[in-house]
Amino acid sequence: MNSDDSESLELTALCDALIDGTIDDAGHEKLARWLLESDDARRFYVQYMGLSASLCHYAGELQTEAPEPMPAPARIIRHPASWWTIGTLAASLVIFFTLAKQWSQNNDDGALDTDRFVAVLLQTKNCRWAPGSPAPNAGDHLNRGQVLAISGGLAEIAFDCGAIVVIEGPASLELDSAWAATLRRGTLRAQVPPEAVGFRVSNPAVEVVDLGTEFTVVANEDGAAEVLVLKGSVETASEGKPLVLREKEGRRFAKTGASDVRDRDRKLERLAQTLTLDTPPAPLAYAHWSFDESEGDIATASVVGMPTVRPIAHFEHPTQKAGSEGRWGRALCLDGTFAAAAPFPGIASDARRTVAFWVRLPQDAPLTSGQTILAWGEKGKGRKTGNPATLLGWNARPGQGTVGALRADRGPDAVVGTTPLRDGNWHHVAATFVPAGRTRKLLHVRLYVDGRLEATSVSKPKRPAPPSIVPATHEDSPSAETLWIGRPPGGRVRGERFRGEIDELIVAGRALTAQEIRRLMKTNSLSAPKEETGGDPNPKTTSL
């Protein structure tokens, strides 16, 4: 059949309409009759549908390929990705369901809670957990709905929004969300930075909404609560009546109404005293690219506590590296034609991690330009390993959130922030990742922009294949062990690379608290104040 004769052109048009879902009843009927009556038409149809099926394959393959050659030391291993595009998902699921039913039951993480982690236990002092209460350790993440009950001592909690709360036993605090808590009894002291304005503490007697301040709530057994403001102001609401309390003011709220706080000045004085807690901050491993090099085809990182990380980021086209004035020193300027890659062993695994950097997007960045700022893992490989690639960039899909806002993609899941980044200004962005669930197959993602928590999500990968039958995992692949800067992971990447500037890129080995992220934003350093320092005082810097 000649594909240019009128009959073929009509058949082609019908096939196109069928493929694209636009065929009408008359066309469908005509095509069916044609296929039934003509061998040639049937052969043409099978060829044309085969073309479409192959395009499905090639389009899927582009999401799973191993990398193109990058400058040394990355060695290229081309995986047989082509048979694992459609097949990976199907075969893994089939094998999973048929061979490992029992295993799958053991692997069930239960129902998803869309915002499970809301805070971290920072430190304690002489803390005695109440009988029957969970006894988390410093550094443990705390779930929404979790009740912390202490019979004595102090416990300091960092909410994901950035509010820092210390409870003094005996006390009982329920964590309602990253932005809210209910104090059932005891004394609570809250420090709320500007980024966390709106943090709320509730009690049967009163609700306290922070307006950027430091305040205390003391909840008594009888249901009454005293609110004292140490700095700034708060808005209280009791029985529907709002009241703003300012610095050094206090109010007692009870079922019988509001009244003055007895011995207010003495209580304020006591509450103003600095608390010293026991636990030093956890040591922090990280790699930090300052992008301060003014020339050359590599960028070198300072690495602390990550002995396997080779802190060199290579640029795709050595002569095209360009620097610009950054937020701190110089910055990496990407013009949409090139990107960089840094070998980063372990980056593909789901581990506690923070990625933070400064970014400046041009105001006129088109929606069709590259949006991926950072990426790791291998796109599409999650279908067989249950551990898909992660991409951090800006959102270009109007239907999925604010256009230009920070966006994190992980397999089919995406989370989008709220602040448009396409304004020609520098913004500090950070994303934290915390694996969780009984089998640690959930991944909690937090997005911070300019120090403020903007979005949270829980990603649950597709079920992985059982251990005995799983093919080589993507952790084996060099492309998966690579941190990509300015482009998605994998081999052939269609379209532009990211266009914009990046500065002070940090990959840290745990989920930083909002407080640490703010400090990093303000000081460009992860080092805690000297009395808190627990990490390596001498960062290792290497170069080729």
Partner: protein
């Protein structure tokens, strides 16, 4: 469903099953797509077919034509699933489906050759057209996504995609003709 049937396979047969089922996924999908030209429906059917392949693998004789055997299962699966598509235009009536199945079964090698040639032809496309076509077929995307990314209206995107498909089809056909392929 006998959930234990493939579990009873010895380790070598399990490896053979995994190897065959993964190596030939694209061929089985292509066959299914001709019978049910809707990507999502075809992918669902592929998974169901895979399931049956696992269940029945004990009856497959090593060294015989796995693709032909798998396509028979796929065809049977489509016949059973047709009632699901009865009121839609996803597929054709049984008589037409059977005729397509017979033709497609005889064209497996030719489709293989066309698939290989397509990679070359994709490489010869204008990057803008290649980007658009691959976006159209990217998992999770479609014509609307391709239209948005390419800055076209939806109607213009349909036309452009049809034009590019025709270019690719003709490129593949002429390449195979030059090579004297089947």
């Amino acid at each position: 469903m006998d959930e234990t049937s493939s579990q009873s396979l010895d380790p070598d047969r399990q490896k053979e099953l995994v190897s065959l089922i993964t190596r030939h996924q694209r061929r089985i999908f292509s066959y299914l797509y001709a019978l049910v030209p809707d990507r999502h429906a075809a992918e669902d059917l592929l998974q169901e077919t895979n399931l049956i392949i696992c269940e029945k693998f004990a009856s497959f004789r090593s060294g015989t034509d796995f693709v032909a055997w798998a396509c028979q299962i796929a065809h049977w699966r489509v016949r059973n699933a047709r009632q699901k598509f009865a009121r839609s235009k996803v597929t054709f009536n049984q008589e037409v489906v059977d005729a397509i199945a017979a033709t497609a079964s005889s064209m497996v090698k030719e489709l293989d050759a066309r698939h290989e040639a397509l990679e070359h032809c994709l490489g010869r496309l204008h990057p803008r057209d290649r980007e658009m076509m691959l976006t159209r077929y990217e998992p999770g995307c479609g014509v609307a996504e391709a239209a948005q990314r390419s800055g076209r209206s939806l109607q213009a995107a349909y036309k452009a995609l049809a034009r590019i498909r025709k270019l690719l089809f003709d490129c593949v056909t002429s390449r195979l003709a030059r090579e004297g392929a089947p």
